[in-house]
């Protein structure tokens, strides 16, 4: 029976060559479903993770471009795999997307087809922003407004920026075939209407789906612990937490700022497993912070909701806003965000 089984399957296998790595009879979809089942039957996220290693960026990375990604507030989205996306066509995509944006902006106004729009779209790759060799290249989209008046200083103004990346997204990569490009994390900076436009174009062109990626309080605690654990050698920003108390008419926000060295000292005292961060340690770290607060202010922070965390490495808001501050840990932060994005789309 078994041999009969595999013989019956060969035509289908040949049809999509991307399947050759998989076990006989296990299609990507079924694999996917299994992973969904796994996720839901057990604890949703791994209970231990590696401490971020410094600078995992590869050599070919463009420092100018990386600097461009830092110190900006990005709104993050999860993105399902792009169908028939090709890195060789970036120029063509630039052209098509700018035409699309022009058409959309023009809509509802008196139509003058062929009008020269003062908008330029540039696609470019972000070499080296990846965790493993298998990760596809990240890429960046910029929308520039062409300045008309001054010919001397042709400094184009950046209207909107967005980038797509996948850092250590193995769990996703192994479930899709070659036709797809997996860049599950999308970060945007600029007017939401533009994000919506570009999103629409991508959804229509590559049959993908964007969803806003919110960060739960649970994941924010993880971020706080992981980022505190990072070794910093340069400038240190205050470690700060925001808790929100849902009360009417206005919600009350509690800001809790600690000197980064104190936070690090606290972390070192709860941290046991070398090279790793565990769930217990994260819980303990947050508990310590909360009980300290309670000692002084008699407020149980555990009864409120953690909405924002900011450290020297990065800051994150529960609404899915992120700002990465430290060049060294860029890839590490992105890896965690990629993990969250993959969790959302699985």
């Amino acid at each position: 029976m078994d041999t009969y089984d595999s013989a019956g399957l060969t035509p289908r296998q040949r049809a999509s060559s991307g399947l050759k790595d998989y076990f006989v009879g296990v299609t990507p979809l079924q694999k996917r479903l299994e992973s969904v089942r796994r996720q839901n039957s057990f604890f949703p996220t791994p209970s231990r993770r590696k401490i971020l290693q410094c600078s995992q960026l590869q050599e070919d990375v463009d420092p100018h471009k990386v600097a461009f990604l830092l110190h900006k507030q990005w709104t993050i989205y999860s993105l399902t795999p792009l169908y028939k996306f090709s890195y060789t066509n970036l120029k063509e995509y630039s052209r098509l997307l700018s035409a699309f944006i022009a058409a959309e902006k023009q809509k509802g106004l008196a139509v003058e087809v062929g009008e020269d729009f003062n908008i330029k779209v540039i696609f470019s790759t972000l070499l080296g922003v990846k965790g493993t060799q298998r990760d596809p290249e990240a890429f960046l989209i910029q929308i520039l407004s062409k300045s008309q008046s001054s010919h001397e200083h042709r400094e184009d103004k950046v209207l909107w920026t967005g980038w797509f990346c996948c850092v250590s997204g193995d769990s996703l990569l192994e479930t899709v075939s070659e036709d797809f490009t997996c860049l599950p994390l999308f970060l945007a900076n600029g007017a939401e209407s533009n994000t919506a436009l570009i999103g629409t174009w991508f959804q229509k062109t590559f049959d993908c789906y964007f969803s806003p990626l919110a960060i739960s309080a649970f994941n924010l605690s993880w971020m706080a612990a992981m980022w505190t654990a990072c070794k910093m050698d340069g400038y240190l920003a205050t470690t700060e937490f925001f808790w929100s108390v849902p009360c009417s008419p206005q919600s009350l926000d509690i800001s809790y700022a600690i000197h980064p060295e104190d936070a690090k000292a606290l972390w070192d005292s709860v941290h046991k497993t070398p090279g790793e961060v565990t769930q217990e340690e994260v819980d303990l770290f947050m508990d310590c912070l909360c009980s300290h607060f309670h000692r002084h202010f008699k407020i149980h922070l555990s009864a409120t909701r953690l909405v924002r965390v900011s450290t020297s490495v990065a800051s994150a808001h529960t609404d899915g806003k992120i700002k990465i501050l430290c060049h060294k840990y860029l890839v590490g932060v992105l890896a965690y965000l990629t993990e969250l994005a993959i969790f959302q789309i699985e």
Binding site: R32, N40, S41, K84
Partner: protein, 740 residues
């Protein structure tokens, strides 16, 4: 009317008050002036004596002047005309003109009352304050027919119309003039502008073969002009079959950026309108819904529109596209696919939709997607559906009534597609697993339960923690109606599983159930499912104190269970649990008893068939019906026959101690459960006796015996007890056995 005027007035007031306060006093007199203007009209000379008069007043006067027409006798005609033109011009460029003013002036400009130059000048300042009423445009167009205006004016009018197109409040009537505009294509001077206008107006229903012919004729006459090309490509977009000429695939510049005299004014109007301006009419080409990032625009459906020819193809495989064009063997666009035979004819050259989610609304495409074995199609659909379900559900839970309905409609569409394909979607399964733990058992209940029914076959041990562990608490704590709905959907789920398995076993080897590689394993899962539902029903019966209503649903489930071997050709017989059996047997409801008889009859047939096959293929018996099942069935059978026929209830087995029954004082307890005395049948027995002998004052139940017993049975069968009849034929060999 008066309220309308009042609001208009106030609009004017606010607009003016931004400029200068000194105008305010005169504004209140607008209405008065307008009323009295009839008598005052010929005093235009008088008016000019008051140079301090306010612009609104002047405008009013100017409009009246134009409406009335030039005074031929006056020598100072040109001066006055010039003055009024200036007045209107100033107001128009500064604030725009009201719909009423435009209505009047447009009429004047096209009626040819004044000279050509004046007409042109008037058209140039026809700038709306907010909107232009459709009626004005229709009236203006009607002037074009009487030949009062020059060619130049006509050209300018068309250009004006194109430029102002989006500020016209409605376009329905203008749409009706399509034929008229189309006829104007004849005019060489007008042609480019009329083309542009038609480009904006054309709807699918406007595209007719005769128009296509006309356009093609025109093209051969005047050559490949960009404006004609634009219109043709739009026609081709709507009706690709009608136009065989190849047009450049990519959109290029069709309409020259002509010197637009209204450009700056339009910008101002746009700014002015930005608040309350209603959503402008969409361009005919490519309706785009910006509904990623929570909808700012509502009213778009969740499911994308079927659209072939993705940009990706256009960009990525440019060369192939070109050769396609040259070879003429282009693939069939999906928009055109309308019937199943058409699908079969073109199945080799079908362009897949750019967004796979769009197949959900299209049954023909569902057929296609279901039969192609392309993983990437399924993955695209999977991702789209999963994410959409997930996100829409979040929005649904945020409780916006409209959106709530939208989500429910969406779920209904998904369920319809599943029913159509007779197959569950993986995305729905994943969605259920994610959302059931948080489900309140109330929102979208019917949809959720239907989705449950379509969960594809999988190992029960895997499904249980994901599905049943969340469903069971809801089941036990909810109302009887919820329990019944759950049982109903579990029945459907069982049926879907059985169908899937029977197809799989029929089409060896089993490819689609990799989780259970052997038939035995699959059967184990099914039997576990049945056992689980049996357990749930047993507890539910106790919780609902043996409700007849609930029992109906439970027996419905077992009606499926008892027939697995014969109906689905699957080697499985699972009996119903004792609690259910006895509740049904002792029920006060005759239809329950009938249903039980039917189920026992089917069990009998299934077991007999299984046994026969087992005897035939002794060597290759992959599945042994446990003798326990047979024994148990025989026991049930004995109990039933003992109760209903032989009046020897519960003799075998250790359910009751006979002495306990005797202690109850019921003298003839043995008879009290037979077909005559059974509580649910008592009324039938009584009416049977009354029918036999209507005059009888007292009826004796025990008189039903011997021949009368058989008559009574026939009576029962005629009353619809078909289950009982079948039970008798299969289980009671000698019908007279009962009579002791």
């Amino acid at each position: 009317m008066s309220t309308q005027r009042a609001t208009k007035n106030s609009q004017v007031r606010t607009r003016i008050s931004q400029g200068s306060n000194s105008f305010q006093t005169s504004l209140s007199s607008w209405e008065v002036k307008q009323k009295s203007s009839g008598s005052k009209l010929n005093s235009s000379m008088e008016d000019s004596k008051h140079p301090d008069d306010q612009p609104e007043d002047d405008l009013q006067r100017a409009v009246k002047y134009f409406e009335k027409g030039p005074m031929k006798t006056l020598r100072s005609k040109d001066k006055i005309l010039e003055k009024h033109l200036k007045t209107v011009e100033n107001v128009a460029w500064k604030n725009g003109l009201t719909p009423e003013a435009i209505d009047i002036l447009l009429n004047v400009a096209l009626s040819g009352k004044f000279g050509n130059a004046v007409n042109m000048r008037m058209l140039k300042y026809m700038i709306p304050a907010t909107l232009i009423s459709e009626d004005s445009v229709v009236k203006a167009v009607s002037w074009l027919c009487v030949g009062k205006c020059s060619g130049n004016t006509k050209v300018l009018f068309y250009r004006w119309l194109v430029a102002m197109f989006d500020f016209i409040d409605h376009k329905k009537q203008i749409g009706l003039l399509y034929g008229f505009f189309f006829a104007s294509l004849q005019d060489d001077a007008l042609c480019p502008y009329v083309c542009h206008l038609l480009y904006l107006l054309t709807k699918k229903e406007n595209v007719k073969p005769f128009r296509v012919r006309k356009l093609l004729d025109l093209q051969t006459k005047i050559g490949m002009q960009p404006h004609l090309q634009a219109l043709l490509s739009l026609y081709k977009f709507f009706a690709p079959t009608l136009i065989s000429v190849s047009l450049p695939a990519r959109r290029k510049i069709y309409f020259k950026k002509s010197e637009n005299p209204w450009a700056s004014a339009l910008h101002a109007v746009r700014l002015r309108n930005q608040g309350p301006f209603p959503e402008p009419l969409k361009l005919a080409l490519g309706p785009v819904n910006v509904r990623f990032l929570r909808r700012k625009c509502n009213s778009h459906s969740i499911i994308p529109v079927v659209n072939s020819g993705s940009y990706a193809k256009e960009g990525g495989e440019k060369k192939m596209n070109l050769s396609d064009c040259l070879g003429g063997s282009s693939s069939l666009p999906l928009e055109q696919l309308q019937s199943f035979p058409q699908l079969l004819q073109n199945i080799h050259c079908l362009e897949l939709p750019s967004q796979m989610g769009s197949v959900l609304n299209n049954s023909i495409l569902l057929h296609y997607v279901n039969c192609v074995r392309d993983e990437s199609i399924l993955l695209r659909f999977y991702y789209w559906l999963s994410q959409t379900l997930q996100e829409e559900y979040i929005w649904y839970k945020m409780k916006n009534c409209e959106e709530g309905k939208e989500f429910i409609n969406f779920l209904d569409t998904v369920i319809r597609a599943e029913c159509f394909l007779q197959e569950g979607f993986y995305s729905c399964e994943a969605f259920l697993y994610k959302s059931l733990p948080l489900w309140d058992g109330f929102s979208c209940r019917s949809q959720f339960l239907q989705l449950v029914a379509w969960i594809p076959f999988s190992s029960f041990s895997e499904v249980k923690p994901l599905l049943f562990d969340h469903l069971a608490p809801l089941f036990f704590t909810s109302t009887i109606y919820f329990k019944c709905s759950v049982l109903q959907s579990l029945k459907e789920m069982l049926q879907n599983w059985l169908l899937q398995l029977s197809v799989d076993t029929y089409m060896q080897p089993m490819t689609s159930s990799p989780l259970e590689t052997t038939l035995g394993g699959s059967m184990n899962s099914v039997s576990n499912l049945i056992d689980y539902v049996g357990w749930m029903s047993t507890i539910a019966m106790r919780l609902e104190s043996n409700s007849t209503f609930l029992l109906h649903f439970i027996l419905d489930f077992y009606e499926k269970v008892c027939d697995i071997y014969v109906n689905y050709n699957l080697p499985l017989v699972v009996l119903l649990p004792p609690v259910i059996f006895h509740s049904a047997l002792l029920s006060l409801d005759a239809s329950i008893l009938n249903q039980l008889c039917y189920i026992m009859h089917r069990y009998h047939n299934n077991l007999a068939a299984a046994k026969k096959k087992e005897l035939l293929q002794k060597a290759k018996s992959e599945f042994n019906f446990s003798s326990k099942t047979c024994k148990e069935f025989n026991h049930y059978l004995t109990v039933m026959v003992g109760c209903l026929w032989t009046s020897k209830p519960f003799e075998k087995g250790d359910y009751f101690d006979p002495q306990v029954l005797e202690k109850t004082g019921m003298a003839e307890y043995k008879h009290s459960l037979n077909l005559v005395h059974h509580p649910s049948l008592l009324s039938y027995a009584a009416s049977f006796l009354l029918q036999e002998s209507p005059e009888e004052r007292t009826i004796s139940m025990s008189s039903i015996r011997g021949k009368k017993w058989n008559c009574y049975l026939d009576y029962l069968f005629s009353e619809g007890f078909q289950g009982l009849k079948l039970f008798r034929t299969s289980s009671i060999r000698c019908s007279s056995v009962s009579q002791s």
